[in-house]
Amino acid sequence: MKENEDKVLVARCLKGDQRAYETLVRKYQKTIFNVIYQIVRDFSDAEDLTQTVFLKVYENLNKFNDRFKFYSWIYRIAINEGLNFIQQKKAVYELPEDYASLEKAPDRILNESEIIEQIDRALAALDPNYRVLIIMRHFLDLSYKEISDILKLPEKTVKSRLYMARQIMAKKIVEKGMDINEQS
């Protein structure tokens, strides 16, 4: 129903109904803003890029193929905008490392709010190409097939990169000497 609802709104936009586009913006702006924020990690840049995404979506609405899901299309535009922006800034990120350092013993156990903060920091420290996979899989709840379609990568590649991304993120938590495991 959600997909049909989007397609009806797109059809109305293409007939010149601007209110239908406003409904689409209202529906997706929070998700798109948060996805872009997770990629670029700056509120002001995320705001500018969110606007750019919705302007691009509007400009290209007549190219949207309604055999596909609208949200996949808009997520693809948002993720590409975020990654292009990061690449232009030429930020330097750490290289991926193996699982071995996950075994390091922790210094202390964290409470719930500290865990969220720690995860947020670990996510921020990831290479954007890994971060985007974590966001798509665990923030947007997309399937491997949907991620593969959006990033135009084979599912197998998506899976192996996501495995690596999870391990690097977990490793960054361990590196801080923190433990998010439950006390037993």
Partner: protein, 247 residues
């Protein structure tokens, strides 16, 4: 560097892709190796925590800025005919149209064969738009790990059902206005993320997980709503129910 087998199994476990043999294999390793148990717990909990990351409100004014920059003339406004509008509305609902037409046809046959006929047997739907107003507007449904805060109100010719959910797992919310056909579902506004929504036997069923918000908009029809029933089924908990009568 290749990952050891247990790492692959842990990732498959996170993705819910383990078969029974793999599940047992992983459990055996976890039971005998505290180092692997620790890696497993760390990965599982960190992935779970990502779903709990707070969603930031986008700055106010994004919509206004976008409206200022788009060129409405790009997509030419054209007066649509009644038939075009009807087709646009029905086109994505082809399955429902066929089902409705079949039921209608069967109904006509039954009435023509069995019914006594005459205008006194025809339901009167000629009144004003259904004017039911909820007798109660704010309510909370709470289970062991589930808490939902709801508000139901009437805005012009629409019902707005807002909900803020706090839960750690999946849940279904089934909403049914009575009698059937007294509302039409329009859209979900104010979402934390798009929820899965579908119609099952005249009821709207929303599926989501974790902490989320929604604002479901229903338009009234010519049939007056007399009540709305809300059933919530959080995974691992008993079903919570609420029925609100319309004045």
């Amino acid at each position: 560097m290749n990952n050891p087998e247990y790492i692959r199994l842990i990732h498959k476990h996170i993705d819910g892709e383990l078969n029974a043999d793999e599940q047992k294999g992983l459990q055996d390793i976890l039971d005998r190796d505290p180092k692997v148990r620790r890696i497993h717990d760390l990965l599982v909990r960190s992935v779970r925590a990502i779903g709990d990351l707070p969603l930031h409100e986008p700055p106010a004014g994004i919509l206004e800025n976008i409206k200022r920059h788009i060129k409405p003339a790009r997509y030419k406004v054209r007066q649509t005919t009644f038939l075009e509008s009807l087709f646009t509305f029905l086109e994505p609902r082809r399955g429902w149209v066929v089902a409705f037409a079949s039921v209608l046809l069967i109904g006509i046959v039954i009435v023509s064969v069995l019914g006594p006929g005459g205008p006194e047997n025809v339901a009167d739907l000629s009144g004003t738009i259904g004017a039911g107003v909820p007798a109660e507007s704010d309510f909370v449904l709470q289970g062991e790990h589930f808490k939902g805060t709801f508000q139901l109100k009437v805005v012009d010719q629409e019902y707005h059902l807002k909900g803020a959910i706090e839960h750690i797992d999946d849940f279904d919310i089934r909403i049914q206005f009575n009698p059937a056909g007294s509302v039409r579902f329009l859209e979900n506004r104010d979402m934390d993320r798009p929820s899965e929504i579908k119609m099952i036997e005249n009821a709207l069923v929303l599926h989501d997980r974790g902490r989320t918000k929604f604002d479901l908009i229903f338009s009234k029809t010519r049939v007056k709503a007399t009540s709305v029933s809300i059933e919530i089924t959080p995974v691992g908990e008993s079903t919570l129910e609420k029925k609100i009568l319309m004045n």
